[in-house]
């Protein structure tokens, strides 16, 4: 039976309802079509109007021709996590347009490419058809350029419909295109054409508006990989080794740019850093370990598949006690998984990366600011504890654009750790590379090329004098000292961020990018059902002792994370007494896109025994969030 598609009158009347600074825009394009400039200009112009924003790119593992969605969320209250519902769709991609429109909630608005003929699909949306090809033809003759400039037209249309400050938009455009006056002029024209078209042809019939406010002044827009790169440079990194992999490549690529600008010796014109693109991740970490052993501040950056390859060397670093910093910008596994989607799935495997009784130190940045500050801290910690340190970022943090307070210049000098010098040697008498002189499990080390006594570094069994040994007592003593070193690290690593709510009997634990959805969800819980929560944000592994007291304070504690296996919760169970471990519940999200507040709120409410209206199914390209944990 043919569906009844009678010609519909445009349904929506000019609206009197105004929703100001609280909506999400989704731009659906084809990847490789150069929409990134248009999207960033849109994001930046709203940001410059003082409205809190975030921009997230949902892109395929492909160079050109597959669907891509860019989502901008503007929110006056500062919620910048992903939001499930799209309020304003820009449909530029024929492949997905129908599906994209069908999955919108009633009342949403759609700007679309006129030939796609979407207006007949639904009668509960507001449609704004734009003849992009016709308009772009008037702007530019070159067919190749046309494809790129075409996208700028929707920025103009949105400026008109949403009332975006055009001066800000032009400034954002100049910022984005920098010193390319021709490109700026061409794109500005496209903006104007889009704006003029919308002004002439559209009556505003949706409720979404932007209005200037003052919530972003002084702030910056940056992605986590660039933030980590700046941190690494400020930490005085000297040896950088890497092997390209999404989503971590841009970390080292940005770092290379910054180093070339700011770390060339003025007098000699020579570099105070070395960067090597290695033949694989095994070599990358091998070089980082070799450099760390020889006294450099060394790092590498990778993602899950690379971390798997690094396993043997990570164990060597742990056991031979060699500093190195490894950035793991997590993506969806197992195996190749979803290379361009986000997850927090490497937590357990990294904690124990390598065979034997290996434990690794991990830091969990949740913001771009922490990508910066924890990058700096990671280098200090690696040298202080003479061991690899993993900075556990993720694709959402690393590759998406976040707003942030400007980063603060580091106050602390570099901590190079316990490097043996003449004075120390005098004090301790005889140098034993693996001797616990100070009772904190951290031995002194000498460095090749310095005048201190040398030692033979090895991954095979050794005694405190760094001699080869297979004696049971030597082995035990050393491996127990390594544990006591981790005990020292436990309360030295970045402290958790804890918010105790005296009215709360339930606690929430999260880490990394999950934080942003948690902030919003905790407010939803209070506003909707008066469910009060305390919050413990994990910043490092091994956990601080404070974890125990947090769990003790609460009857039930929800550990919220973006993986299937409740990885952080599992790690916590190892540390907590069984009675306390029994209080832990899970909220799990593992669909490839960033977690959102609704998923958390609904899951907690259900587990707390509340009735929750089933949320509408999500569009098929954004699979239904796996939601309710503890199942």
């Amino acid at each position: 039976m043919a569906p009844e598609v009678a010609v519909q009158e445009a349904p929506s009347q000019p609206t009197t309802r105004r929703i100001v600074n609280d909506f999400s825009i989704q731009v659906a394009t084809v990847n490789g079509s150069g929409s990134q400039t248009a999207n960033l200009v849109l994001l930046r112009s709203i940001f410059r109007m003082g409205i809190p924003v975030s921009g997230k790119n949902l892109f395929p593992s492909n160079i050109a021709g597959l669907p891509t969605w860019y989502t901008i969320r503007a929110n006056r209250d500062g919620y910048i996590a992903r939001k499930q519902d799209i309020d304003f769709l820009v449909a530029m991609n024929a492949q997905t347009a129908q599906e994209d429109v069908v999955s919108l909630k009633p009342g949403a608005a759609v700007v679309y490419d006129e030939p796609l003929n979407l207006a007949t699909l639904r009668d509960d949306l507001t449609f704004y058809p734009v003849p992009f090809d016709k308009l772009v033809a008037g702007v530019c003759r070159d067919a190749k350029l046309r494809r790129l400039v075409r996208n700028m037209i929707y920025d103009g249309v949105l400026a008109s419909l949403l009332r975006i400050d055009r001066a800000e938009m032009e400034r954002a455009l100049e910022k984005q295109l920098g010193r390319k006056p021709k490109a700026v002029a061409l794109n500005r024209e496209a903006l104007d054409v889009g704006f003029a078209y919308a002004e002439q042809h559209f009556e505003k019939r949706d409720p979404y508006f932007v209005e200037s406010m003052d919530a972003t002044s002084g702030q910056v827009l940056i992605d986590g990989n660039a933030a980590a790169a700046i941190g690494a440079m400020m930490a005085g990194v000297t040896v950088v080794t890497w092997y390209p992999i999404t989503p971590s490549s841009s970390l080292c690529e940005t770092l290379i740019d910054y180093l070339r600008q700011h770390r060339i010796d003025k007098d000699s014109g020579k570099a105070t850093f070395a960067v090597v693109q290695a033949e694989d991740e095994i070599a990358a970490i091998g070089m980082a370990i070799g450099a760390g052993w020889a006294g450099a501040r060394s790092m590498t950056s990778t993602s899950g598949p690379g971390v798997s390859l690094m396993s043997e060397f990570a164990g060597l670093g742990y056991y031979a006690e060699v500093p190195a910093v490894i950035f793991d910008v997590q993506r969806v596994g197992p195996s190749t998984g979803l290379p361009t989607r986000t997850a927090q799935g490497d937590v357990l495997s990294t904690a124990f990366l390598s065979h034997g009784d290996t434990r690794q130190l991990m830091l969990f940045p949740s913001s771009v600011e922490e990508c910066y500050s924890m990058a700096i801290e990671a280098f200090d910690l690696a040298e202080r504890f003479q061991t690899p340190v993993f900075v556990m970022s993720d694709l959402d943090l690393g590759m998406n654009t976040w707003m942030s307070q400007p980063f603060r210049y580091p106050e602390k000098p570099l901590d190079r750790g316990k490097v043996l010098d003449a004075e120390t040697l005098d004090r301790i008498g005889k140098f034993g590379r693996y001797r616990d002189v100070d009772g904190d499990g951290i031995p002194y080390r000498s460095v090749p090329g310095d005048p201190m006594p040398a030692y033979f570094c090895r991954g095979s069994g050794h005694n405190e004098w760094a001699q080869y040994s297979e004696r049971p007592d030597d082995y035990r003593k050393n491996i127990d000292r390594l544990r006591s070193k981790l005990e020292t690290a436990r309360n030295w690593l970045p402290a958790p961020v804890v918010t105790i709510n005296r009215k709360a009997s339930i606690g929430v634990i999260a880490y990394g990018t999950t934080h942003w959805a948690v902030v919003e969800s905790r407010d939803q819980l209070v506003n909707e059902e008066d469910v009060q929560t305390s919050y413990y944000r994990v910043c490092a592994y091994p956990f601080r002792d404070a974890l125990t007291s947090f769990v003790e304070r609460h009857d039930r504690v929800y550990v919220i994370e973006q993986n299937r296996d409740a990885q952080m919760l599992s790690l916590m169970k190892l540390d907590l007494a069984p009675e306390l471990a029994g209080r832990l519940r899970s909220v799990l999200h593992y669909a490839g896109h960033p977690i959102d507040a609704r998923t958390i709120t609904d899951s907690i409410l259900i587990q707390e025994g509340y009735r929750v209206e089933k949320t509408r199914p999500q569009p098929s390209h954004v699979p239904q969030s796996a939601g309710v944990g503890g199942e």
């Binding site: 000699s268 694989d280 980082a288 370990i289 052993w293 040398a454 080869y468």
Partner: protein, 349 residues
């Protein structure tokens, strides 16, 4: 004709930096008596002593295997890193990036290099990193009890009678092809040649790849093996005499014109190679590749300096590093000033 005099075995002999040869020794070897690897360690001790190498500038690097254990048995006062199987090249690369003043001496095995480590070996050769990379080549895996390695010759047999039916990897040909700037082959039993090669390698700047036949007396020294002492002695095909004169010694040699090739090395030392009938010049890449092929097809193996390119830029030069070791740069040279951070932040607004 004279190279540097081998010091008398007696005590008291001091080298040019005032150290006795004793000070170039390591801990007592735990390898089998008669293992070729021990003879190579002796040659390394001897070469470093004679060249007056400062032990605190040396880093000894290795992978895993009997051969890779041997750095513990020489230069005991130098730093060493016995890393993971087949991955010494990356560790050595990192160490040299950290401190370009170091002298890297790497020891690997034919399994460590030719099997698990072939990837890192290939890329090390491409980079021409300043390092001496010694393969102690016994055609088998000693430490795991005698299995074939990828350098075992076609038709060579294990003690158990198993015949190798895969062609060997010629690490010298591979190294030349890939860009190593100093490639030699020698035999642990040829003291004089191995000493000259090692000293020349110490005078070279760039990757010096030395494949040294080093029989495994326990698993691969029987009849039927092509890596036994007996086989090596009877099939060694030297590319002429090799004389090394270090830069710090007077050259008091007289060669009849036209009888030798003279190769000046990076540090000013000189190698004299007697010309053979074929007039072999190790600076000629084509000739180097063809001599390897020719000798192999004759069933022998060429030894001596096979290829050298004394002025090829090394990896650290190409990176345009500051002169000081990166590892010891002070904070004010590695942490940009506050104004830099401010400018970056401004740019992100």
């Amino acid at each position: 004709m004279a190279t540097v005099q081998t010091p008398a075995a007696g005590k008291g002999k001091i080298n040019r930096i005032g150290l006795a040869s004793q000070e170039y020794r390591g801990t007592k070897t735990t390898l089998c008596a008669g293992c070729g690897h021990n003879a190579i360690s002796e040659r390394i001790i001897h070469a470093c002593f004679e060249m007056g190498i400062e032990p605190d500038r040396v880093v000894k690097l290795s992978g895993i295997g009997c051969s890779s254990k041997s750095p513990a048995y020489f230069l005991g006062s130098s730093h060493g890193f016995n890393a993971v199987h087949g991955r010494m090249p990356s560790v050595g690369t990192g160490a040299m990036l950290a401190n370009r003043r170091l002298i890297a001496v790497g020891v690997s095995g034919d399994g460590d290099t030719g099997a698990i480590g072939i990837g890192q070996f290939v890329h090390l050769m491409r980079r021409n990193l300043p390092i001496i990379y010694i393969i102690e080549d016994n055609g088998c895996y000693g430490l795991t009890k005698g299995q074939f390695s990828p350098t075992a010759d076609l038709g060579s047999t294990l003690k158990t009678g198993v015949v190798n039916d895969l062609p060997p990897i010629d690490t010298c040909a591979l190294a030349i092809e890939l860009g190593a700037s100093f490639v030699a082959r020698s035999f642990s039993g040829d003291k004089k040649q191995l000493s000259a090669v090692l000293k020349a390698a110490l005078s070279h700047r760039g990757t010096a790849m030395l494949d040294v036949l080093s029989p495994c007396v326990t698993f691969n020294d029987h009849e039927g093996s092509t890596k036994s002492y007996a086989y090596a002695k009877s099939h060694d095909d030297p590319l002429g005499e090799l004389d090394f004169v270090p830069y710090f010694e007077e050259i008091d040699v007289d060669y009849e014109p036209g009888t030798t090739h003279e190769v000046e090395l990076h540090d000013g030392s000189t190698l004299y190679l007697t010309k053979l009938a074929e007039d072999y010049d190790p600076r000629n890449k084509l000739q180097a590749m063809s001599v390897l092929q020719e000798t192999r097809s004759r069933g022998t193996f060429a030894t001596g300096l096979i290829y050298v390119e004394p002025t090829k830029p090394d990896f650290l030069e190409m990176l345009n590093l500051v002169d000081e070791p990166l590892a010891s740069l002070p904070q004010d040279r590695v942490r940009p000033p506050e104004a830099v951070l401010e400018a970056i932040m401004n740019d992100l607004r």
